[in-house]
């Protein structure tokens, strides 16, 4: 593994992808504004609440102008876009704070949860997948595959609730939710770790079946290929054959999965953060949606789209690194 990394090609690919991401984000933001414009929901009435019933038309018009919803679709979108570029994403109605502040405060916690869960899913899926591929149709393979299919079909919020019931209520070993114990406000490392275990484990386990099935298939296919037969013929140990030959080529299909699982990871995080009252960005999305907080919802949709594009880029870079035949042309 001492070959030099092709930095130039990787940078070119990253640049190309960023150029491609700009129109995608433009279209997505425009779509978000178009859906909002088509919706029967009136932000002025929501903002004014019951006071809006008695307020004069003049006050309502003033409010409409203040909120910037008196304009047509395209100027509103353009105004939002130009101020978003300078970092001003508007004011969140439900949090009563600037959207950018809400995001910066919560993004870290979400990243922590999602990264831990994703790493867990990859490690668990790979380890079990290689172990199962050693003996396809064996006891381990059958048991783990059955569990994997069941987990694929199980809704993640349901798993989370059952995990809370079992670990927090029945065994009373892990906290049921939140970031810190209910009494204290100070965020310490130990507290966060103990509160992270359950949500990250549930999210990771619920994501691992896809990795498991890909690795198992990839390694099992690789075990039937000529390089492996050659390695066995040379008398290499089964361990070297499995880990040195089959595993390395069997991992390739899984690398593409890393990128395509990012949307599912975000979906899972939306549900898990709600179940475990994790103070992350996904829980804020659900809050924003229930109270129709458009500025926050729009910003978070764009953020999630950017995350998905980033995940795709990461996966293609990894694939190009792992398989020199593919290169960085995408």
């Amino acid at each position: 593994m001492s070959r030099r990394l092709p930095w130039g090609a990787m940078a070119r690919m990253t640049g190309r992808r960023l150029l491609f991401a700009a129109p995608v984000l433009l279209v997505v933001t425009f779509g978000v504004f178009a859906v909002a414009a088509a919706s029967p929901f009136d932000p002025v009435k929501a903002y004014a609440g019951t006071a809006g019933l008695t307020a004069s038309q003049e006050t309502l018009d003033q409010l409409r102008a203040n909120l910037g919803v008196d304009q047509a679709l395209v100027p509103r979108w353009w105004e939002w876009l130009t101020s978003a570029v300078t970092g001003d994403l508007g004011e969140s109605g439900v949090m009563r704070r600037p959207v950018a502040e809400v995001i910066t405060e919560r993004l870290g916690w979400s990243l922590l949860l999602a990264t831990t869960a994703f790493l867990l899913a990859i490690l668990l899926g790979t380890a079990l997948g290689v172990a199962a591929a050693r003996r396809p149709g064996g006891l381990l393979d059958r048991c783990v595959s059955t569990v994997a299919y069941t987990l694929e079909a199980a809704p993640v919020f349901w798993l989370g609730l059952l995990a809370i019931w079992f670990f927090a209520l029945r065994l009373d070993v892990l906290p049921a939710g939140g970031l810190t114990d209910s009494g204290s406000d100070i965020v310490t490392f130990g507290q966060v770790t103990s509160h992270l275990v359950l949500p990250a484990a549930v999210l990771g386990v619920s994501q691992s079946p896809w990795f498991y099935l890909y690795v198992r298939q990839g390694v099992a296919d690789a075990l039937e290929e000529d390089p492996v037969r050659g390695a066995r013929a040379r008398g290499l140990s089964e361990r070297t054959v499995l880990l040195g030959h089959a595993w390395r080529s069997g991992m390739l299909p899984m690398l593409t999965l890393i990128g395509s699982r990012v949307p599912e990871l975000i979906t899972g995080a939306l549900l898990i953060e709600t179940v475990f009252s994790w103070p992350g960005i996904a829980a804020a999305t659900v809050e924003a949606a229930t109270s129709v907080d458009f500025p926050l919802l729009a910003a978070l949709t764009v953020l999630a789209t950017a995350a998905v594009l980033l995940g795709n880029l990461l996966s293609d870079l990894l694939y190009g690194l792992a398989d020199p035949r593919v290169g960085f042309d995408g």
Partner: protein
């Protein structure tokens, strides 16, 4: 399929475990799996169609004296926090979820097939622009898009169906497009072209029938997806109104009793989602093996 069986069979002579043929051991459970899946799907269909009109039981019948009873002979799934029978509630919930899933999958398949076939049949710039749009759409996480749509158009059955359908046609469009592209180079299409058929006639008479099995498979697999999507929305409080309780609503309302230590109102609605999903996926696997025997069948969700 028979060829591959005989091809891999000689390896059975070698009784080293590591060389055991994967194909044979898998095939032995295949019939069992297919029959079980079919039986479960039939049972679900019967339960959903027959129980509500025939059984004349009120799923909303409240009996506070019997609240939160654990599973027993009278109430196989126990009762919820106001004494309603959970088995009955689950059947009704599955009915709602299945209905939403079926309609959404149907709409999504029609949109996806139309868009995919149009993109492939026209080719050129149309194809490029449409597929770029599909890529753009699919870079927004499905549930997030669904949440956005439902939030903007208040909770209700139709916004949920629309949001599920709008987020799920993308994969069908991709499948149909690639199938049509591969069919387009077949000789019988060339024959139709030289026979003077119009583009429209070729698409409708020659290309679409060829992709229908694939599109149908995608549609069947989409039903559990749509059900899952709907229950996630309902669980977040953004789905169906609570008088039309779906499985997601049931899990949501059971959160209170779960935190008091009663597990059955949460467990059973989830199982009602998992078991039909696996059964449908099992049947779809059999179907896929029929239309595409060279690919080894795996359950795919």
């Amino acid at each position: 399929m028979a060829d591959t069986t005989t091809l891999t069979a000689p390896k059975a002579a070698d009784d080293g475990a590591r060389w055991r043929s994967r194909g044979r051991s898998r095939r032995s459970t295949r019939t069992v799996r297919a029959v079980t899946s079919a039986v479960i799907v039939a049972a679900v269909a019967l339960a959903v169609l027959i129980v509500p009109p025939v059984a004349q039981l009120d799923q909303q019948a409240v009996d506070l004296a019997l609240k939160l009873q654990p599973p027993s002979l009278d109430h196989p799934f126990g009762t919820d926090d106001v004494g309603r029978d959970l088995l009955l509630r689950c059947v009704y919930g599955l009915r709602v979820s299945l209905l939403v899933g079926l309609v959404a999958a149907l709409v999504a398949t029609v949109i996806g097939t139309a868009v995919g076939a149009a993109a492939a049949a026209f080719g050129g710039w149309t194809d490029r622009i449409v597929m770029r749009l599909v890529d753009t759409f699919s870079s927004v996480p499905h549930l997030l898009l669904g949440i956005f749509i439902v939030a903007m158009f208040r909770p209700g059955v139709w916004p949920v169906i629309v949001s599920v359908a709008l987020t799920h046609w993308l994969s069908t469009a991709r499948i149909v497009r690639s199938e049509v592209l591969s069919l387009r180079s077949r000789p019988y299409v060339d024959a139709a072209v030289s026979g003077g058929s119009s583009r429209w006639r070729i698409t409708v008479r020659h290309l679409l029938p060829g992709v229908l099995p694939q599109a149908g498979l995608a549609a069947v697999l989409m039903v559990p997806h749509a059900m899952w999507h709907e229950s996630a929305l309902s669980f977040l409080g953004l789905g169906l109104p609570s008088h039309q309780a779906s499985l997601g609503n049931l899990v949501q309302t059971a959160r209170g009793s779960l935190l008091a230590g009663d597990w059955w109102p949460t467990l059973f609605p989830g199982l009602f989602l998992i078991v039909p999903t696996l059964a449908i996926a099992g049947l779809a696997g059999v179907w896929r093996e029929r239309i595409n025997p060279r690919r080894r069948s795996e359950l795919m969700l």
